[in-house]
């Protein structure tokens, strides 16, 4: 037992160090790409927390925007420093999510999917409609970057380290939540809501908890993103981006923590690789989606096991018989 723990810790350590030195070997614009990728990892992992209870929402991208707008307004209008507006961004997203729980969690399944989409679209259209204070379609620009000592967070590498540290902490927290009994209960609500209820689990509470917590973290992700770009617009959080989140999680595999990460990383990197195909790019992406769903229904995370099976590890079968 301790052996595997040590092995895991070492593996994660190596991964972390590799990530930390990675940007130094990248082209400039790929450094930016890496920053957004790491932020998107937080987006998908927080989304997975929401989906743990079995409800697929279409509002996650908008909740990210709620955090982003929140932090942008706090730092621009109220003049708060990034270090204050950033955590508050998560809080604002969580509060909005908490308010939305009342209507949204009256629904489940398909209805929840569509209901959450409608609620999100209504919020997003409000950003467009209410120019004060949201700035309409052009949103809010000149959002200040973080200030700390003399570090220049406009440069990709320092910001990357900031993002890496924050996202790592967030992932650790999300991991703790999932591995705690709360996470266990969230799973339980998904697999058999009626059984969970019969032993005293208030499923509404837990669905809400997952939604609010997930929104908190994605709110943070939103703030991280816009304090780097310096601009927040409604278009950044439209259904198109939401669809990408959904795709990353499902193609990566939503059953495990790392499946979602794998999905976001692999698909984003593939997408970037296909850049030269220009307008054909979405079609290639679409084809990959279809292919992976048809042939890897459990997601990319199941690929290693599949390979193992292909290479004939028969011990599992022997166990069975």
């Amino acid at each position: 037992m301790p052996g595997t723990v040590i092995r895991k810790t070492v593996a994660i350590g190596i991964l972390f160090i590799a990530l930390a030195i990675l940007p130094h070997f990248l082209k400039y614009h790929h450094q930016d790409f890496l920053i957004f990728l790491v932020i998107n990892v937080l987006v998908v992992v927080s989304y997975r927390l929401v989906t743990l209870t079995g409800e697929w929402s279409l509002i996650h991208a908008v909740m990210m925007g709620v955090g982003a707008y929140g932090s942008a307004l706090l730092s621009k209008q109220a003049g708060l420093s990034f270090w204050i507006s950033f955590p508050l961004a998560g809080g604002i997203a969580a509060i909005v999510a908490a308010l939305l729980c009342f209507p949204l969690f009256r629904m489940t399944q398909f209805y929840f999917l569509i209901g959450s989409f409608a609620a999100g679209e209504a919020i997003r259209l409000s950003w467009i409609h209410f120019i004060k204070p949201f700035g309409g379609t052009s949103g809010i620009s000149a959002i200040p970057s973080p200030e700390l000592l003399d570090i220049d967070f406009l440069e990709p590498i320092p910001y990357f380290y900031l993002v890496l540290i924050i996202v790592t902490i967030c992932l650790f927290l999300l991991f703790r939540i999932e591995k705690s009994r709360i996470g266990l209960t969230l799973h339980a609500v998904h697999w058999k809501a009626s059984l969970a209820e019969s032993i005293g689990v208030n499923t509404w509470n837990y669905r809400s908890l997952a939604f609010i917590t997930g929104s908190f973290f994605v709110g943070l992700a939103g703030a991280l993103k816009v304090h780097y770009i310096g601009t927040v617009t409604p278009k950044q959080f439209d259904i198109g981006f939401m669809v990408f989140i959904l795709i990353w999680v499902i193609v990566g595999g939503y059953r495990t923590f790392y499946g979602a990460i794998l999905g976001a990383v692999v698909l984003s990197v593939l997408d970037e690789m296909f850049r030269e195909f220009n307008e054909l790019r979405p079609a290639i992406y679409g084809a990959i989606l279809i292919f992976s769903i048809l042939y890897l229904p459990a997601g990319l995370e199941s690929l290693p096991q599949r390979l193992k099976r292909v290479f004939g590890r028969k011990d599992r079968q022997m166990e069975r018989t």
Binding site: H29, F36, L125, I131, S141, T233, K235, F277, N278, R281
Partner: protein, 426 residues
């Protein structure tokens, strides 16, 4: 119709696919570059080439390639004693802020672009802090992007939407009976609202009552209700402030029997509109964007080399893609080259200084640096602007209006209307 059928879409598709690959590999490899011993001067285009906004990016790339090709064919451009071939490097950001930032850095740091042309809006806002820090000269088609924080963002060509005032002024002068106007536009802050505010100001100055300003979203599939609602107020002038939905709105005006004057910011693809309505209906429509085979562009004072030749070359290669941006990006490129020649260097700082120091020649002639009253910095080049009217199914320049003059007289009215619509002013 005839023009459509001559160019089957299949051919276009093959060509487009090829063009895409060329653009993507960033080197527009023309044969003469291979032969030439010249150094290369790279300009960057960080524009949408796919998605909804592609029509405001791609034609510009095609136009710049034609211009670059022409210059290179003639032996390149000499700046500070050194002769260069022009290379246009492009990056498709799909009007996405993240990608815009990445593309900007790629063009500057990896492709060594000396200047970056962009469409404007949130994508410009996203790159601006970095561009300012790195002192990269950046151009936009939207002067409203200008902020006092950045000396390196200039709008040297399209002064959207300031030129709209000239059309209104011309209308009021030629049709004194016109008393009331209604404005329809989409509700985005970059294009629609700016333009609506400008039209409101222009109508006010011209003594025409704006009885309705109808803002709509990008989700409209049918303009019948909007047009019905506006026409119910019986305006003498129907004004379209942005280009996105001109065709369906014109169609509705036609079907709902509208008989009054029509003024529009643009009338791109007006032959299609004529096909959907009638020549008689479209005749007399006032707008701001000429065809480049217009004889009036041959006159002195216009700073665009061989507009008719450019027009022909463009329409030959890209028959269905002509739009305002097709000549605007090239005009910016040409303007920048002039400044670089004058500065004797392509270095951003020197070009920017030269641009601002000299009284620049605007593409349609004239030219003043303006903007501080509205956006805090005089980084928009404002000059003469054509007033275009459809005559017998063809766009023809009536005259050139004086944007700068109007602004100097009426800037307060403009600022007031901008403020009323919640737009950023100093």
């Amino acid at each position: 119709m005839a023009t459509h059928t001559q160019h089957p879409a299949r051919r276009k598709f093959l060509k487009k696919a090829a063009a895409g690959t060329v653009a993507a590999t960033t080197a527009s490899v023309f044969p003469n570059i291979v032969l030439s011993a010249n150094k290369t001067l790279t300009v960057g285009m960080n524009i949408p080439m796919t998605g909804d906004y592609a029509p405001w990016g791609l034609p510009g790339l095609y136009g710049c390639e034609i211009i670059a090709n022409n210059i290179n064919k003639e032996g390149g451009v000499t700046i500070g004693g050194e002769t260069y071939d022009i290379k246009v490097a492009s990056y498709d950001h799909g009007y996405d802020t993240e990608k815009a930032l990445q593309g900007f850095k790629k063009l500057v740091l990896e492709d060594d672009a000396s200047m970056i042309m962009m469409l404007g809006g949130s994508t410009v806002a996203a790159v601006l802090p970095w561009a300012t820090r790195k002192k990269v000269l950046t151009t936009t088609l939207l002067p409203s992007d200008i902020t006092p924080d950045s000396n390196y963002l200039v709008a040297t060509c399209e002064s959207h939407p300031l030129y709209n005032v000239t059309g209104v002024e011309w209308l009021a002068r030629n049709f004194p009976d016109v008393k009331s106007a209604a404005i329809v536009t989409n509700n985005d802050a970059e294009y629609g609202l700016q333009s609506a505010a400008t039209y409101q100001a222009a109508f006010e100055v011209a003594g025409i009552d704006v009885i309705d300003t109808h803002l709509h979203g990008f989700d409209v599939t049918d303009f019948a209700p909007i047009v019905s609602s506006v026409l119910a107020k019986n305006p003498d002038v129907f004004c379209m402030a942005t280009s996105f939905y001109v065709t369906p709105i014109m169609e509705q005006l036609y079907h709902q029997g509208y008989k009054g004057k029509i003024i529009s910011c643009t009338l791109d693809y007006y032959d299609e509109i004529i096909a959907k309505t009638s020549k008689e209906f479209v005749n007399g429509t006032i707008f701001q964007f000429p065809d480049f085979d217009d004889p009036k562009l041959q006159e002195a004072g216009v700073n665009f080399p061989d507009p008719a030749g450019f027009d022909a070359a463009f329409r030959k290669d890209h028959p269905n893609d002509w739009s305002a941006v097709a000549w605007e990006y090239p005009a910016i490129l040409l303007n920048w080259l002039d400044a670089a020649k004058a500065a004797g260097s392509a270095d951003s700082e020197s070009v920017a200084a030269t641009l601002k120091a000299n009284k620049q020649e605007f593409v349609f002639g004239g030219g003043d640096w303006w903007g501080s009253q509205l956006w805090g910095l005089d980084n928009a080049l404002v000059g003469r602007w054509p007033i275009v009217v459809i005559e017998d199914g063809k766009a023809r320049i009536q005259e050139y209006g004086d944007v700068a003059g109007w602004l100097s007289n009426n800037k307060d009215v403009l600022v007031k209307h901008m403020k009323d619509l919640g737009l950023r002013t100093v």
